[in-house]
């Protein structure tokens, strides 16, 4: 630790920015994809009344939880790797549901 951080701030150890950005960006992508899967494959079908509202709300908790927990990853690149894989998987499933369901 050098001194006590920059101008008045507490120390942030390395990778905080990479981890945080991974959580912020990929967390949103994962939340959006999961909400889409809920809307398309969840009970009642895509046209159930008011379901689109729940699908909209569903984005926020997933997004925020991934964002908040992204700092648990051992390093920035690992965060991007794991969350990126998860986002690709979710959006792959969503695309599949649009093509075949």
């Amino acid at each position: 630790m050098t001194g006590a951080g920059g101008v008045g701030g507490p120390d942030l150890n390395p990778h905080w920015l990479a981890k945080g950005l991974a959580g912020l960006i990929l967390g949103f992508a994962i939340g959006l994809g999961l909400s889409g899967l809920l809307a398309r494959t969840g009970p009642g079908g895509v046209e159930a009344a008011y379901k689109y509202m729940v699908a909209m709300w569903a984005v926020a908790p997933v997004w925020m939880l991934v964002f908040a927990l992204s700092f648990l990853f051992r390093s920035g690149p690992r965060a991007w790797l794991w969350l990126g894989t998860a986002a690709l998987a979710v959006h792959g499933a969503l695309l599949a549901s649009r093509l075949w369901l």
């Binding site: 905080w16 809307a39 159930a48 008011y50 699908a55 909209m56 709300w57 964002f67 908040a68 700092f71």
Partner: protein
Amino acid sequence: MKAAIIRLYKAVHSWTGLICGLLLFVAFYAGAITMFKEPLAAWAQPLRAGVALRQAPRLIDQVLAERPDAADELTLELGTDGGDARLGWHDPDSGEFFEASRTAAGALAVAPPPDSYLARSIDLIHRAGGIPGDRDFSLYVMGAVALLYFLAIVSGLILILPRLARDLFALRAGRNRKRMWLDAHNAIGVVGLPFHVFIAVSVVIFAFGEPILNLQDRLVYDGRLDRIAQIGDPFAAAEPSGVKAPMLPPGQLLARLRAASPGFEAQRIVYIMPGDRNAVAMIGGRDPAQLSTGIAYARLGAVDGEIQDLSGLPGHGNAWNAWASGFTALHFGTFGGAPVRWAYFLLGLGGAFLFYSGNLLWIESRRRRARRAGAAGAVQNRAAQSRAARAMASATVGTAFGCIAGLSLSIAAAKWLHGHVADLASWHVGLYYGVFLPALAWAFARGAARSVVGLIAAAAFATALIPLASLAAAFVPALGLWNHGGATLGVDLIAAAGALALGWAALRTRRGLASIPRDSLWFAGRRPGPATPSSVIDACTRPAPI
């Protein structure tokens, strides 16, 4: 968990708290007040005569006969506790709202309703976190703040988890002030945890819901969202028949709905195409036993009284509707009646305390670290650190007590301004910033230690002005002010209690500052002699030599 991860979360907690704390203080304090916006709006303006529910059908007929601008939609606001109802409509061209009443001679009188704008001004300040200017901009800022605020919640929880069982509710009062503040901060944070999670999640949706829906429209719904959203919407248009028919009196419509949904408390009837044979009565209200949004609507035929659609009502629609309205209700506290309102009021005040105490705790930890760094001889960091800590201390006390004083003065002024100024909304917002900004400036100019007692006292004084306005109304009738009793008395009582609590806090703070160690940022006295080398902050808070 690894120590490095815990350290990172500690840093995340500090940074997010520092970045968001001040805006969140304003949002939570003003939000707590909006829990009582109905009594507040009533407190702020004189009683208006409306129309008795029995007389409403005649008034409706009169309006429909004389006012073509009311032909699309008419709203009958039902009086609470059997009080008068009010009949009004929006002019479809100008958007202006009119209310109808009958003169003593039985003629129709039409005028825009008087509005205190007080509750709405406080709501605006609440939504914007006190950021003046463009509403969309401040909403996006608050959405981003809510994301960081959720980080602060999770990181705070991670920090406290290991100690949770041991000393959560141990409020170690006594000589170690920092320990006591930390205990209070932790206890209030954990007690309010679910509330804070709901608030953070819902604000993200309020801010980013539109863009999210637009993205989903393309990614999920293949551009069909507009049509999907219409499904199940009870307001979806009906076709006018062009044939006139008499509508059932409101009392009968309400009785039909009560039979179908007993727990429902109706607040208004919106007539669509009033007077037409296909006229629709949308009865809006809430069911205190259910988690529901502000107002849910049932759809009835206004002519035959037949119930057409109850799916909008809590407990009647599908599960998706229940979930969607439940999320919104969790933000606004619109369920469970008065106990939940009070709980939300207290949780809101508790949230404000959380951000205030969090900032103070950070400042204290700066002092400790600075002292250690001083011992280690890291000289170059000292000045920058203490500057940041001092600025944060000034911003914290200036924002907190400037916000309280500004809102209190804005409320207290409502009775005096009503009927005397044209643009009430601007006055309320202007009074708020007219107090808030100078308070902030004063805190920076004098420094936190030497402004905090005065700021708390000013907040106490401004809050005391609220019940004083009501006392003036009671004892000096010549002023032409008013008191309505009932829930509006609660406004005066809460304000009086708040003023007393703030007055007590001012006295305590003054006493506390007198015994503060000299190396503290809160040391307000003069320091004779040379700077003590034990603390860097000490040197920087010393009055500058003249």
